[in-house]
């Protein structure tokens, strides 16, 4: 379907964006990669009067490491996440996630800021930033504000962003040599949104004990779901098949998935248990696997 009649303005700086936002108010919608927004326009699922193109605002670009923190500009495209050497080194979970997002032509346009701001519950990147304990840097005419990723996603397609705030960047704390991360998902077709997925990050010390586990599921709730009880079932324990089974069992209390077009809640719970095993079992020690 064709898009509706709509206005368009391009901001080349944050100051210009603030001016445009003040002028158009709630009638305005930010346009970054547009890979979700423009499809919703075609379906008349959203009805902005004017699109404010932010893709040429230099302050929202770039990937850099400072004081051990990886800062990823909001306009970073999924394809860039997949090939950037700093991302590969400091947040390999994001590099691993990139190929799971839609298709190559979409990854060349879609942005991390857009994905986080849209907050689709089945999307990969919201779950990843929660798993990584990232911080969302929001900016508005009032200045910058930092929101922990865990507090950023507040409900179905809802975020902690105020109406005049935009995402400037994502900051990811440094990774340690003991850090392990993994993202996996189950989808009916390659590139589809996941029926269920898991972004996991944890540390394994020299004894094989788990510390700081974060298992974050997507496609099973109204946003990314941090499985606190499954994490607690792993924390401090040697990662073995008994520990994985305990984490799987704890998911019963962590997850309350709604039925959706893919199937009933129990199917999603089953998939979450399967994903937990698949994500963690490669981290088992060789002796454990041989048993």
């Amino acid at each position: 379907m064709k898009w509706p009649a709509i206005g368009y303005a391009r901001a080349t700086s944050l100051d210009e964006l603030w001016r445009l936002q003040a002028e158009h108010g709630a009638a305005a919608q930010l346009l970054a990669g547009g890979q979700t927004l423009l499809a919703t326009l075609a379906f008349r699922l959203s009805d902005p009067k004017i699109l404010l193109d932010i893709t040429r605002i230099a302050a929202l670009r770039g990937i850099a490491v400072q004081d051990g923190v990886l800062r990823i500009g909001a306009l970073t495209r999924h394809a860039e996440l997949g090939r950037d050497p700093l991302v590969a080194q400091h947040a390999p979970l994001l590099a691993e996630a990139a190929p799971l997002i839609a298709h190559p032509a979409i990854r060349n346009r879609g942005t991390i800021g857009g994905s986080l701001a849209y907050a689709d519950p089945a999307a990969e990147l919201p779950a990843c930033v929660v798993a990584l304990g990232a911080t969302i840097v929001a900016v508005s005419p009032r200045g910058e504000r930092r929101v922990p990723a865990e507090a950023f996603f507040t409900g179905l397609l809802q975020t902690a962003l105020a109406p005049d705030e935009i995402i400037a960047a994502v900051e990811i704390p440094g990774t340690q040599p003991t850090t392990r991360s993994r993202i996996i998902e189950v989808a009916r077709r390659s590139g589809d949104y996941a029926m269920a997925g898991l972004a996991a990050r944890l540390s394994l010390n020299a004894e094989g004990r788990v510390t700081s586990p974060r298992l974050v599921f997507f496609g099973v709730g109204s946003g990314p779901v941090l499985a606190a009880r499954a994490g607690a079932a792993l924390d401090g324990w040697v990662l073995d098949s008994a520990a994985i089974a305990a984490a799987q069992a704890a998911l019963a209390e962590d997850l309350d998935p709604p039925a959706d077009m893919h199937g009933p809640p129990e199917m999603k719970r089953h998939l979450a248990r399967v994903l937990t095993f698949r994500a963690l079992s490669p981290l088992l020690r060789a002796s454990e696997v041989a048993e």
Partner: protein, 161 residues
């Protein structure tokens, strides 16, 4: 609100200046304003891949890009790719393998497959399928399409020895 936006961009190596409505997507701009009908408008919501073109050297969904946003951009369509002969061998393989049935998906398929030739010269059959997974062929002629890409990759590797 529906004021027109002035844009100047390169399309297949030629400088083009036009005034476009904001609601114009890149594919309608190419087809209706420039007469370049090689790129196809299929689903028009980013699912089918028939509209695959290059913007600034990388493939995109033309139906999910505003023409108005492309001031200063460089766009390559199937017409430009054909004229450059960059994938003449791939196009020959499409013919030889009967990889174009009704032909509707073919321009987008070739644009996406050209991306494999350029970025993934050692792609396996599985990787080819994965890379083309966003391009639908409603004749379901996928085997022949993957055959054509696989053969082209193999021939290019052979020629490089």
């Amino acid at each position: 609100m529906s004021a027109r936006i002035d844009i100047t961009l390169m399309v297949n190596g030629e400088r083009v200046s036009r005034s476009v409505e904001a609601r114009r997507h890149l594919i309608d701009f190419l087809r209706l304003d420039l007469g370049l009908t090689g790129s196809h408008a299929g689903c028009e919501h980013g699912v089918c891949g028939a509209c695959t073109v290059r913007v600034d050297g990388e493939i995109v969904r033309g139906c999910l890009v505003l023409a108005a946003s492309l001031d200063g951009a460089e766009v390559t369509t199937i017409e430009g790719l054909t004229d450059s002969a960059e994938v003449a061998d791939l196009q020959d393989a499409f013919v030889a393998c009967n990889a174009a049935q009704c032909g509707f998906c073919s321009p987008g398929m070739v644009m996406a497959a050209a991306d494999i030739l350029r970025h993934h010269p050692t792609a396996t059959r599985e990787e080819i399928r994965e890379h083309l997974s966003g391009n639908y062929c409603r004749c379901t002629g996928y085997q022949a399409i993957v055959d054509a890409v696989e053969q082209t990759l193999a021939t290019r590797r052979e020629d490089r020895r």
